[in-house]
Structure formats: structure tokens, C-alpha cells
């Protein structure tokens, strides 16, 4: 009894991954536009760093500053893709009118959401690697001192809190069919502001620093910079890894619980159909 059930869930998981892949394939032109947008954003940051010297900022290591900003920009590009793919999946289904069919299927919500997340992580990684390779070519980035193993571990551990955040945000279109999309973008903006993508969080005012301390992206960025720029080993990034592990344990179950609550609410008020 258990094995057929597990097989069914595995098949459904593959179904969600495959569906997302097929959607990306069909909307390839849009995806190409977004890839160019990501690339342009990262390159702009790289050139901004390169231009600092002509603005008179010669008292610090410009290569170091460029690397600092580029790592932030690349990670933000990755996190944005993952975040948008997860949180917009519900909105996409609402828009197509298929959400009732997905919710009606005999599949656990855990399988559904993890399937969406798995694709988002893979797709985000592929897109970021493309942008990284181009940035490396253009800026002659020196990553010879980088500790790749630590970077991979930080990224892997970050996956869970990021999934939790994505699931939490994907609830917004269920709560407000009309304004969920805008709210998702607003949440993303807050995460950008209070995470230290382009600056150390120490420059932020007190309340934003407090927000940054509970934002998993802050620790992902610090850990990745420590690995890629500082070349630090796994043992020395525990201060970044520990909060990420903890947040993963909190945010994933919290995301699933809130999603469950929002689904029940949508069913109570009849919000699942396309017209809302």
C-alpha cells in the first residue's frame, strides 16, 4: 500500500518538474528576455564597480569591491529566479485557470510544492551559471582563491529557507487573486533591501538591520562571499550556516502550514476559480 502511494507521489513530483520545464520551453522568448535582463543587471553592477575609480574612489581595493558586488548581483539573480519561479507558480495557475485541477488531483501539497521548488532551483542554477560565465569573461574575475566546496554547501543549505520563503509568498495570490502579484514583488523588494546584496548590512539603519538578521538571504550572501572571495573553508562559515539550517527547519514547515491555511481559506470563500 505504501509503495504504490510513494510511486504515485514520485510520479506527481516528476509531473510538476516536467510541467514547469515545458512551460519554460514554450515561453522561451520571455525566458531569453529575462536572461538578458539578469545579465544586464549583473554587468551593470560590474561596470559600476569598475567606474568607481574614475569617480575618485581609489582608497580601497577596486577589484575586491567589484568581486563583492558581482557576487551579490549574481546571487540576487539566482535567488530572484528561484523566488519568482516558486511564488509565481500559483499565480500562473490562477491565470490559466488550471489551479482547480491541480488542487483536485490526489497529490500531497508537499509533493506539489517541492516539485515546483526543485525545478526552480535547477533552472535558477543553470541561468546563473550562464550569467557567471559571461561575467567571468568580461571582467576577468579571479576566483582561483575561491573555496568552491564551501560555496556549494552554503548554496545547498540556503535552498531550504529559500523554498520556505518562496512557498510563503506563493500564498499571496491565493489570499488576494487581484493583488497577489504586486504583493509578491513588494516582498521581493524588501528582501533585496534588507539582505546586503550590494552593501554590508552594517550600513543599514537599526530596524532594517534587525530585519536583515532574520532574512536568510543575508546569511547566504555572507557565506557565499566568505567562500568565493575569502576562500574560507566549511568550518569557518558555521556562523552563516547555522542560522540557515535553523531557518530552513522553521520556514519550510511554516510555508507549508500557511499554504494549507490559505488553501482552506480560498476553498471556504470560493476564491479558486479564475474570476475570483
Amino acid at each position: 500500500m505504501l509503495m504504490p502511494a510513494l510511486r504515485g507521489e514520485a510520479q506527481a513530483f516528476a509531473g510538476f518538474v516536467e510541467r514547469q520545464k515545458n512551460l519554460i520551453k514554450r515561453y522561451w522568448l520571455w525566458e531569453a528576455v529575462w536572461l538578458i535582463y539578469s545579465l544586464v543587471s549583473v554587468l551593470s553592477i560590474g561596470y559600476l564597480a569598475a567606474g568607481l575609480q574614475s569617480l575618485g574612489a581609489s582608497t580601497f581595493d577596486l577589484r575586491q569591491a567589484q568581486l563583492y558586488l558581482l557576487v551579490g548581483a549574481l546571487l540576487w539573480a539566482y535567488l530572484s529566479v528561484v523566488f519568482i519561479e516558486i511564488s509565481f507558480s500559483v499565480m500562473w495557475e490562477r491565470w490559466e485557470g488550471t489551479i482547480e485541477y491541480t488542487f483536485m488531483a490526489p497529490v500531497r501539497r508537499l509533493t506539489h510544492l517541492f516539485g515546483i521548488c526543485a525545478f526552480a532551483l535547477l533552472y535558477g542554477l543553470v541561468r546563473t551559471v550562464v550569467v557567471l560565465l559571461i561575467a567571468m569573461l568580461l571582467f576577468h574575475l579571479d576566483l582561483t582563491h575561491a573555496n568552491v566546496v564551501t560555496a556549494v554547501i552554503v548554496l545547498a543549505v540556503s535552498t531550504f529557507p529559500l523554498m520556505g520563503l518562496g512557498i510563503l509568498t506563493s500564498v499571496l495570490p491565493l489570499l488576494s487573486p487581484e493583488r497577489g502579484e504586486q504583493m509578491t514583488v513588494a516582498v521581493q523588494g524588501v528582501l533585496l533591501l534588507a539582505s546586503g546584496v550590494y552593501y554590508p548590512v552594517s550600513v543599514l539603519p537599526g530596524p532594517l538591520q534587525a530585519l536583515a538578521s532574520v532574512n536568510p538571504l543575508t546569511y547566504t550572501l555572507e557565506g557565499m562571499r566568505a567562500a568565493l572571495i575569502g576562500g574560507r573553508g566549511v568550518g569557518s562559515v558555521w556562523p552563516e550556516l547555522a542560522p540557515l539550517v535553523l531557518m530552513g527547519f522553521v520556514l519550510v514547515p511554516l510555508g507549508l502550514a500557511v499554504f494549507g491555511w490559505a488553501e482552506r481559506r480560498a476553498k471556504r470563500f470560493g476564491l479558486l476559480k479564475r474570476s475570483g
Binding site: F16, R19, Y27, T102, F103, R108, K267, G276
Partner: protein, 274 residues
Amino acid sequence: MSQVSQPAVETCGLTKRFRRQGGGRRAWPWRQAGSEVVALHPLDLTLERGSTTGVIGPNGSGKSTLVRVLATLVLPDAGWARVFGHDVVTDSFRVKRHINRVSVEAAFFKELSAWENLLYASRIYGVADRSLRLRVEGVLARFGLPRDVLDRPLRHLSRGQQQKVAIARSVLTTPSLLLMDEPTTGLDPRSKREVQRMVADLREDSVTTLLCTHDMDEAESLCDRVLLMDYGRVLADGRPSQLGRLEDLFFGLSGRGMEEADVEAEQVVEGSVC
């Protein structure tokens, strides 16, 4: 009671209300108090296994709400509903294994091909295997759809073809209870006849079917039992031959014609009631 002897659907005092927004959608939340619309008054209903039951009524009569409750997509406010003995609220996962639904809008990922949509549906129901493509082609052939339809994006198909693919999607998961919510509404006469033929075929497969429709003739020809609904209440329930001309019966019981009731419901409901 054993599983086999359970009726396909059983409801007792099933009730659903929806809140209707007041003050318009742009009003501040505290000015949106609005009122309540009763979509389903306490409903007691039993559908026998293998039966085809038609539900007829104007917009806002509660047909779609009944379908959505049975499909586990809307939670009832009071009463209960069971599908093959499983409660739609507390045991919804088991209910989902028994059902599928065809709605008035053939909801698909429109940019994906029919095959990609059907593959996705089959996977999330856990019924995709190596023979799926052959099975899909078989089902489409049975419904008179050419094979090349499979690899075309859904948005390139006519509405009739989309609706047939939607029925194929529901059939692929071999449901024991098929909920059809106005599957022929808005179709051209030819597509409508073809979809009706498909519904008739399903009847021969002993699938329990709940068919919501506006079309009295459709209900008379396809169903062995008809429920006439208005404002969330069952006005009449019986075999089509017993009920006589449904149009006249509806007028006699509600005091207005079906079209008049549709217009009235649209003015009152403004999309609040499913």
C-alpha cells in the same frame, strides 16, 4: 456499510453561503461589508452508482457550487457530503482518487500542447506509464479527434476540440464519479452534439456522472434522473419522463422562465456565487 454498497454521492443538509462584496472592489475593506448569498440551501441528495444525473438551473442556482463541493474545491458551511463513503472535507484525499471534473471553461496551460497537458494530468494522478501515449491516442480517436491535435498548443485548437481534450483528460484518470459542469455551454451545434455523444458513451462505461447544464433537451436525452434547481434549492427531482417538459416545469415552479432567471441572477450575483 461496505464500500460496494455505498452510494456514489450522499449529502445531508449540505449548505453553502458566499459573501457578496459591498461598496465595490475599490472600496476600503471596512466599507466592503456586503451581504451573504445562499448558494446551497440544506441539500439532501443521493446518487446511485453508475447513474447519470442532470442538474438544471439558471446561473446562481447552485449547480456549480454543488459540483465544487463534491470536487473538494469549496468547503461547505454546514451539513456533509460523501463520495463513495468518503467525506469531502475530512477525507478529501480519498475522494480525489475517485473523481474528475470537466468545467465550462476547458482549463489548460494554453501554450502547452494537448499531449503535454494530458501527460501532466496523468502524472499528477499517478496513471502515466509507457502505454500512456497509445491510450491517449485511443481516447482521442474514440472522441473523433485527429492524432495531430495532440502535438498542437491548446490555444490553436477550437473551443470544441479543447472541450474534447478536457473530457479525454478526465477519462484518462478513470474516475468513478465524473462531475461535468456545463461541458457544452458556448459550443457550436456540431461540437455540442459530439460532446453529448461522448457523455452518452461514458454512460455505457458505468461511470457515475453528474451533469450540470442549461440545456433541457440535453438533460432529457442524456440523464436518467434530473434535478431542477433555483436559488440553491431543488425544485423538482425525478426521471425526465416523469417531469415532463422541463422548461414548463421550471416556469410553473419558479414563476419565471430560465432565460429571465439567468438575467436576474447575473444582476444579483455579480460573480459572487459559483
